[in-house]
């Protein structure tokens, strides 16, 4: 680990001041990803602003009937929060599908949004990686890419975003509240994470000097027909090969509204509202689900080892929608 300086912020404004005041500074909260990356020299901030003492650790109702998750609420406290469990079980399930109890006790909701990719090459400083070292090349495209992205990739990067929680947030159309030197703004989850393009080293549209303060969940929580389906190589403590957050609003067997977000397949949680819309007014049948799945994966591209993910993702969408329809949220 390279030496760094450290200060502790007491409120949002002082946090923003601290981050602008120091060169190559980063916020640190749970530290479950950042500290690991610092130890292996993948990230080397010169200054850390500890934000854990800022009062951003509550979950409260919003004026429009939704719920606001403070950025510093831990993943576990969020997953087991009474209102989240009751009104947004998709969020609870997605969070609990990730990491371990110990990690979720440290990891915060704001930090979850900012997780770095788990691409093998990103973690090995002896290999070329455009995300870690812009311009050095992508080892994964011609190397081992079994776990990597099939949608929204670029010739520079095929990394995936590893979060489970963010996939559920994408399906529910959450929005992210941030504060920077120029004041507050709100970023819809769909615009929060970026595709790699030719700047794969930039994961999100959050500016370096902005801090996430909270996540707003809209009033509609799809608490009846939902599922978070996570496919992975072992039963726990593994990142998704493919995951699907699916939510349905039904009138009998007729679909009024469908939401589908995919994890493990792209540089961001993957949504395609125009494909979801195909289900509107349709019957909840396997055939209709498969059609949407085909539409969702249109344009998907495999890189050899990960070709199978295209078909797997389609099947996962079908299964997730069936589970949501059958109220098998916890499957």
């Amino acid at each position: 680990m390279r030496p760094f300086t450290y200060t502790r912020a007491t409120d949002v404004n002082s946090a923003v001041q601290e981050i602008t005041r120091h060169e190559k500074a980063k916020f640190v909260a749970g530290g479950t990803n950042l500290l690991d990356l610092m130890k292996i020299d993948v990230m080397a901030p010169q200054h850390l602003v500890d934000i854990t003492r800022i009062a951003l650790n509550t979950i409260e109702a919003t004026a429009d009937g939704g719920l606001r998750l403070g950025a510093l609420v831990t993943n576990n406290d969020t997953a087991y929060h009474e209102q989240v469990e009751k009104r947004y079980p998709l969020i609870s399930h997605a969070i609990l599908a990730g990491a371990t109890g110990q990690l979720r006790n440290m990891a915060t909701d704001g930090g979850n949004l900012l997780q770095r990719t788990r691409c093998y090459y990103f973690y090995d400083t002896q290999t070329p990686c455009n995300k870690r070292e812009p311009g050095s090349g992508c080892s994964a495209i011609k190397g081992y890419n079994r776990d990597l992205a099939i949608l929204g990739t670029s010739e520079h990067c095929i990394a995936t975003h590893p979060s489970d929680m963010c996939v559920a947030l994408a399906a529910l159309e959450a929005s992210i509240n941030v504060t920077g030197p120029k004041g507050e703004r709100t970023i819809p989850i769909a615009d929060f994470h970026r595709l790699p393009g030719d700047t794969p080293h930039i994961d999100t549209n959050l500016q370096e000097d902005e801090i996430i303060t909270s996540i707003d969940l809209p009033a509609k929580g799809f608490a009846e027909h939902y599922t978070y389906l996570k496919l992975r190589d072992r039963a726990s403590y593994a990142f998704a090969i493919v995951s699907v957050a699916a939510a349905l609003d039904l009138d009998g067997d007729t679909i009024k509204e469908a939401r589908i977000a995919l994890g493990g397949v792209a540089h961001k949680p993957w949504r395609k509202p125009e494909a979801e819309a195909m289900l509107q007014g349709q019957q909840a049948t396997r055939e209709n689900f498969r059609k949407v799945a085909e539409a969702y994966l249109e344009g998907a591209k495999g890189y050899g080892d990960n070709d199978y993910k295209i078909e797997l993702a389609k099947r996962a969408i079908v299964r997730a929608l069936e589970q949501a329809f059958n109220k098998e949220g916890a499957a």
Binding site: P3, K142, Y144, R234, Y308, L312
Partner: protein, 739 residues
């Protein structure tokens, strides 16, 4: 036979020390003025180091030295000085020897500093320039260049018998298939570590993670030109090893080098990533041709093995040993060739050769049983081996039929339908599969010492290891049994090179090897106790022989008349020094060598495979083991359970991925290298069948470290076939292969 300790469930004698943290591991021993070393690993797989610029590291206050091939001291650089007890034929790797890079992540420098954090930071500042050469790590692309080594590390492949081609041509059922097993790394929880304590005067005490302290001692003495008196190696606890600690690893060499040069104590601990920088289970490809006659009897068996090795050592393991042990067959051809690559030399990993060989053999047999239309268990009963055909010897004992019977009954095998895809639960296809396994029940030479002191406390010692297997506990039981003491009155010491000689702990032979020595050392004490008893005036035991007395509850008594007895503690007051000693060396009996000695297992597994998504759950496994006499059913069960989980990892998870462009293992941490987690493990049952063996060794025991592993992966693979109708012949069986 009546016993007080042997065969009884006992808690681990070291359990409390382990859970309270009192037990110390190699990186936990403190030393005055300790310095910390961090290893710099090569970024390329092959080439030369043009230059190493350590100036930025050395400029930091507190960095003591950066050792490289340029400034390493010059002595004992002959490769034969680097041989160790587990070295394969060839030229062992010598850390910092010259500027050649022979494999990716090769240690190329050691940064030593006042603190660990500083050393780690300084290591990031070391700048290395390479002259890169073209590497080749592609196993599949080099099969045609495979060669038969001049000398096999393990056994030579058995000689061919009969005429395989003819028998195959005449067979009424035959299969021809290829199975591959990936490279795997041991990944014990404890990373390799050495704390080299500078004692002054050129002397060192080294706390090392190793499966045999005397191997490290000999290696250091030889590599550094020291006498054995100048180096003592201590390793009281090992946090898992699985074979990774059979050979002294480079952190030991570098810690000793730095300690000698700096004349102060130095600790070097590998990172988790560096745990992927030395030996591994080799990638192995096996081509099988099998043929059976109309009665379902095996008539032809050909096994062609290709195993990975390095450019500098010929590593091989017993992959082709198993057909001759498990199946009678008159026409066999077994070959084992090596594929040399720019990698570090492979290294024995839990059930080396058996894990790979038995996996492929048992899957091939399952395929043949299906070709012949015979139930897989029935097929094995029809082809039951009554002798070891490799050496043409009878088995010292073999209760495998009883394993079949008890295992099948517990599992409910009789309810199985032969047809694949015949059981289903919602989206889950259910499959039942089975396999059998064997593992060597060897005994090696070992020494032990027993000292019974005046207070009635017994101390027994031998320079063996406890790698988490329960050595402390079972040796304590064996000694307590011999002298009729309680476990609390017995202390067993191990992991110190000053103790009586013992071989490496590996190959499931420690209880047989060290246990036999412990037993005999205690028997010497028994003799001395009896003599002492008889020397007493009016001794109730005068004129008795050793076989007429028994030792129980702190007394020596006449077997046929327990009223004639004496208290050991009273007797000890009369001994010359207040204590009695026994010190012995033992080796396998000549009689035992007339027999093939193996433990056996039958494994039954149930899987559920999602018909659309290809995800696999192992819902039930039953393993029945014929493992001789079970010294401690509790630790024994634990070992078999661990082996079963290991086997599940072999079948479904473990795989070190080689990126051939970079010549580098790329999933080198525990996030990306998967072993099973708790949530993967569902019902698991262990059955020990009765097996008496008077020949195998004086204790009648067979090792259990590896027999729990070998049959599990093929049983799971066969169950996946039964569930899905698909044969996946490339491990691990992951969802992409089942879509």
């Amino acid at each position: 036979m009546k016993t007080d300790q042997i065969g009884k469930e006992r808690n681990r004698v070291d359990g409390k020390a382990k859970v309270t943290g009192e037990a110390k591991y190699a990186a936990e021993f403190e030393a005055e003025n300790l310095a910390y070393g961090v290893v710099v690993s090569s970024g390329i797989a092959k080439g030369k180091i043009k230059s190493i610029d350590a100036s930025k590291a050395l400029a930091l206050d507190g960095v003591l030295q950066v050792f490289t091939h340029e400034n390493r001291p010059g002595y004992m650089w002959l490769d034969k000085n680097y041989k160790d007890d587990d070295a394969p034929p060839g030229s062992p790797f010598r850390p910092l020897y010259d500027n050649e890079v022979q494999f990716s992540m090769q240690p190329i420098a050691l940064v030593v500093a006042e603190t660990f954090e500083l050393a780690r930071y300084a290591a990031m500042l070391v700048e290395v320039a390479y002259e890169t050469a073209e590497h080749d790590t592609d196993f599949d692309a080099n099969l045609e260049q495979a060669y038969e080594p001049e000398e096999y590390k393990a056994s030579e492949p058995p000689k061919p018998r009969g005429d395989v081609d003819k028998a195959l041509a005449e067979a009424s059922a035959r299969i021809e298939q290829t199975y591959t097993h990936p490279a795997e790394h041991h990944n014990p929880m404890e990373m390799h570590a050495s704390t080299a304590v500078w004692e002054g005067d050129g002397k060192l005490t080294v706390y090392d993670k190793i499966q045999g302290v005397q191997n490290s001692q000999q290696y250091i003495a030889s590599a550094f030109g020291m006498s054995q008196d100048e180096v003592r190696v201590i390793s009281p606890f090992v946090g898992g090893a699985f074979g990774s600690g059979l050979r002294p690893q480079y952190q030991l060499f570098l810690a000793v080098l730095a300690a000698r040069e700096l004349q102060r104590s130095v600790r070097v601990v590998m990172t988790r990533q560096q745990m992927f920088s030395f030996g591994h289970r080799p990638k192995t490809l096996q081509r099988f041709k099998l043929g059976a006659d109309a009665d379902g009897k095996l008539q032809a068996l050909q096994q062609e093995v290709y195993g990975e090795t390095s450019r500098f050592e010929d590593y091989s393991e017993d992959v082709v040993l198993w057909p001759g042990v498990l199946y009678p067959c008159d026409n066999t051809k077994l070959t084992h060739k090596l594929v040399g690559l720019d990698v570090y030399t492979p290294l024995d990993m839990r059930a080396p050769g058996g894990t790979t060989g038995i996996y492929a053999l048992e899957c091939a047999i399952d395929e043949l049983a299906y070709e012949a239309g015979v139930d897989p268990l029935e097929f094995r009963k029809k082809n039951y081996s009554e002798k070891d055909q490799n050496e043409d010897k009878p088995f010292s004992s073999k209760e495998l039929r009883e394993c079949y019977r008890q295992g099948a009954e517990k599992f409910g095998w009789s309810k199985r339908k032969m047809e694949p895809r015949s059981m289903k639960d919602g989206h889950q296809l259910i499959g039942w599969g089975m396999a059998q396994g064997a593992w060597e029940a060897n005994q090696a030479e070992a020494s032990a010492k027993a000292v019974l002191s005046k207070d009635g406390k017994l101390t027994v010692s031998s320079a063996t290891a406890d790698i988490g297997t329960g050595t402390y506990t079972v040796m304590t039981q064996i000694a307590a049994e011999a002298l009729g003491l309680s476990l609390e009155d017995v202390t067993f010491k191990l992991g110190d090179s000053d103790l009586p000689k013992a071989p490496l702990e590996g190959g499931s032979k420690t209880v047989a090897t060290v246990g036999s020595a412990v037993k005999k050392a205690c028997e010497q004490v028994q003799e001395k106790l009896l003599k002492l008893a008889q020397e007493q005036s009016n001794s109730p035991l005068a004129e008795t022989k050793l076989e007429d007395v028994e030792f129980s509850e702190g007394r020596i008594s006449l077997k046929r008349d327990a009223s004639k007895s004496m208290q050991l503690q009273d007797l000890l007051q009369h001994s010359e020094n207040g204590s009695l000693e026994g010190e012995v060396s033992t080796k396998p009996s000549d009689e035992s060598k007339e027999y093939a000695r193996y433990a056996h297992s039958a494994v039954f597994a149930e899987v559920k495979v999602d018909e659309d998504l290809g995800t696999v759950k192992v819902t039930r496994v039953v393993t029945a083991v014929a493992g001789g006499r079970i010294v401690n059913p509790k630790t024994a069960r634990s070992q078999i359970l661990g082996g079963m989980v290991w086997g599940m990892g072999v079948a479904l998870h473990e795989h070190t991925v080689m990126d051939n462009h970079l010549g580098r293992f790329i999933n080198h941490d525990l996030d990306k290298y998967h072993v099973p987690v708790n949530a993967d493990v569902q019902e698991m049952e262990v059955i020990f069948v009765e097996e008496e063996d008077e020949v195998v060794n004086p204790l009648g025991v067979k090792g259990l470290g590896e027999i729990g592993v070998v049959g599990v992966a093929p049983a799971i693979a066969n169950a996946i076939f039964h569930a899905t109708g698909k044969r996946v012949r490339e491990l691990p069986i992951t969802m992409d292969k089942l879509l």
